[in-house]
């Protein structure tokens, strides 16, 4: 059974600083997804990582995937207040279904 763990679960950082959110998963999952959720809102897709070594960047966010280590990271560069949200990673369950298995999320607060 695929399990996905994120850390930290809560992250408070200053504007302008860098930080990394980690996502570990327990069994084979060649696909890793990152979503953003603002309070009271639904999930917005950020990145779809499809293969080992995949790296994707959008603005101040960069995501990477290491399937051998079963690890994905979401790196935040020079954080700004608008990045405050909850970030979820999700692995794709491999068993004939396309269901996503989500971590508990990392609540990021960027302080001015």
């Amino acid at each position: 059974e695929l399990k996905v763990e994120q850390n930290p679960l809560f992250l408070s950082m200053q504007e302008g600083k860098n930080y990394t959110i980690y996502c570990n998963y327990s069994t084979t999952s060649d696909r890793l997804y990152w979503y953003r959720q603002d309070p009271g809102k639904s999930l917005e897709s950020l990145f779809v990582l499809l293969s080992n070594g995949a790296v994707k960047q959008e603005g101040r966010l960069m995501a990477s995937l290491d399937t051998k280590a079963r690890l994905s990271t979401l790196h935040i560069t020079a954080a700004v207040h608008d990045l405050s949200a909850t970030y979820f990673c999700a692995g794709l369950f491999q068993g004939g279904s396309e269901k996503l298995v989500f971590g508990k999320g990392t609540k990021l607060t960027v302080n001015p």
Binding site: Y33, L43, G96, K99, F102, G103
Partner: protein
């Protein structure tokens, strides 16, 4: 274009009542998913439709939960004899064909509160 829509946005019901939650996926998307998100948690998978058929319903918690997608577009999640523990946000997502390379697009969710 229009995204995934869900109705109602909020639903308050009493314990023991029956509720229906509706999902309208992005036009042309054949894959549709239901997830449930409890406060402070990530979404948990409930059921996946490919076209009209339920390809995977392994996430439905018990037989009080049922979902249909009779014409391969709109889907309805039905909950019988609701319990307080059913209170959560029910999220619907769709993707073009269910291929893992595709993004699942999520709707705004229905917030269900069982009193």
């Amino acid at each position: 274009g229009a995204g995934v829509s869900q109705t109602p946005s909020n639903k308050v019901t009493e314990k023991g009542k029956y509720v229906e939650l509706r999902c309208d996926p992005i036009s042309g998307h054949t894959a549709l998913y239901w997830y449930r998100q409890s406060l402070g948690q990530g979404p948990e998978f409930l059921i996946y439709f490919q076209g009209t058929g339920a390809a995977d319903d392994s996430g439905l918690p018990n037989d009080r939960f049922f979902a249909v997608r009779p014409e391969g577009s709109v889907s309805t999640l039905k909950i019988q004899r609701t319990e307080r523990g059913d209170s959560a946000v029910y999220l619907c997502a769709s993707s073009l064909s269910g291929d893992p390379q595709e993004t699942q697009y999520f709707g705004p969710g229905t917030r269900l509160l069982v009193l």
